[in-house]
């Protein structure tokens, strides 16, 4: 079973610059084999850190060596995407998801690393753990707080940011 996280933005519009930002960050962290599949309205990203130069992603043993992401170039307006953002708290009304990571289990440290860097570039975005029970939101300040802790916990992405 996959458990994904979403990144929200005010109008929900991603663009090519976001794809480049994401790839830039991962490339600088050693994920040297990346592919973007152009599906028209969205991009499907596959990000891999091969041990050897020509190693294929499905032979990677560690979960944290690869991740999949989807970036919407045009905000989706179907029933499901409207339904899931309906119950947003007041402070995040009007936000839509434009980008998500698939299957976060075993990858929470690499994601913490990534988001710390990513929110430097786009500070107004919000990370949303949509499948946890309480559906936590993480802003830049929350991520910075967790990142600057002395001890990192694997469970950071499942725990309410205010309690950490």
């Amino acid at each position: 079973m996959g458990w994904s996280v979403d990144i929200l933005r005010k109008n929900g519009e991603g663009n090519i610059q976001d794809v480049k930002n994401i790839i830039n960050i991962f490339m600088s962290r050693g994920y040297t084999n990346c592919v973007a599949y152009d599906k028209g309205r969205y991009h499907n990203l596959s990000i891999n850190k091969p041990m050897f130069d020509d190693e294929l992603p499905w032979f990677l043993e560690d979960d944290a060596d690869s991740i999949l992401a989807n970036v919407d170039l045009k905000p989706s307006d179907d029933w499901w995407s409207n339904e899931r953002i309906r119950d947003f708290p007041e402070r995040f009304k009007g936000y839509r998801d434009y980008f998500d990571f698939e299957k976060i289990s075993g990858r929470s440290f690499m994601l913490l690393n990534f988001f710390h860097e990513y929110f430097k570039l786009v500070p107004e975005d919000v990370l949303w753990n949509c499948y946890s029970k309480d559906k936590h939101f993480y802003t830049k300040a929350d991520i910075d707080k967790i990142y600057n802790k002395k001890e990192w916990k694997v469970e950071w992405i499942y725990v309410d940011p205010d309690e950490q």
Partner: protein, 329 residues
Amino acid sequence: MRFEGRILGKAGVDKMQTAYTVDDILIDMGYSMRFSFDKYVYSISYMKEENDILFFNDAEHMIEVYNYERNFEIPTERANELGLETYYRFSNIYGKELIILELLHRYLEENPNDIFYVDNGRYYNKAMIDSIYKGKHDKNWMYRPLYSIKSISEYINIFLTTTISYMGGMGNITDTRHRGEKSVELRYEGRIIGKRKNSKFGTAYRVIRALKKAHCKNIVNIKRESYNILYAKCNNKKIIEIYCNTQMTDIPTDEIKQMDFETYFRITDLIGKEMQVLEIVHSYLNKFSDDIFYIDNDCFFTKSQIDEIFNNKDKNEKWIFKKRERDRF
């Protein structure tokens, strides 16, 4: 000055099997940082040796390879006679000639029957590449004329200065390394496709007319063997680059092949000038209403659809990401 190189192979073969040979060779040569942009008809690989600064911010050391997995392209009539089609395209080889030489040496070892073609009209087979490779490596090997000239750099300097003066100060814009283009853009290519014709000579005037109507200035036309390259400054000061096929046969997908259409014009980059392109395509399709605009994210636009987008008050840059509708035409 932009030069494109192509590796040509036997036409009519399923190219899926050989799709990543060049990538693998480049990885062996140390270009282990790879970002591939997969677009179904072809995939674009951006490859780099190492990463001192951010990956996309360093265009100079990056090699851009197009793997033509499904796109069918015959660059010249001579290639057509020999039964060759494009397997790989190197979109900008200026400054990377020695890397290409090493790559070709390794590639032709495995595929001895393939041909390397540069769009200044040169063809190289395995024997020629081997003899160049054996000699003293010269970074100008691609531009060196087959007859001997005393100083090749002098020859190139004369060529460059005359073109620059001809273009009235527009010279710098055609050199990607000097026009401030330090970062790489993820490319979306737009194509104007139309019924197959026996000869496409003289179609360039069609798009020049559309460019003038769309308030583009400083239009420059550069002749190459298989196409003309048009540069124009559009009204947001960005440079638009259009390839007008004169000899080249370029059929991106099977669908277009069945329609008996082919590419007339290729607009190499849409990002950042979407509205200008919309205006150009709009004024082009006004005159030639049977042609279709095709973007390589698999979107087709007929005249009525472009008109609808153009006349819409809330039109924005996102128009190129249309939802796919196959059954409109």
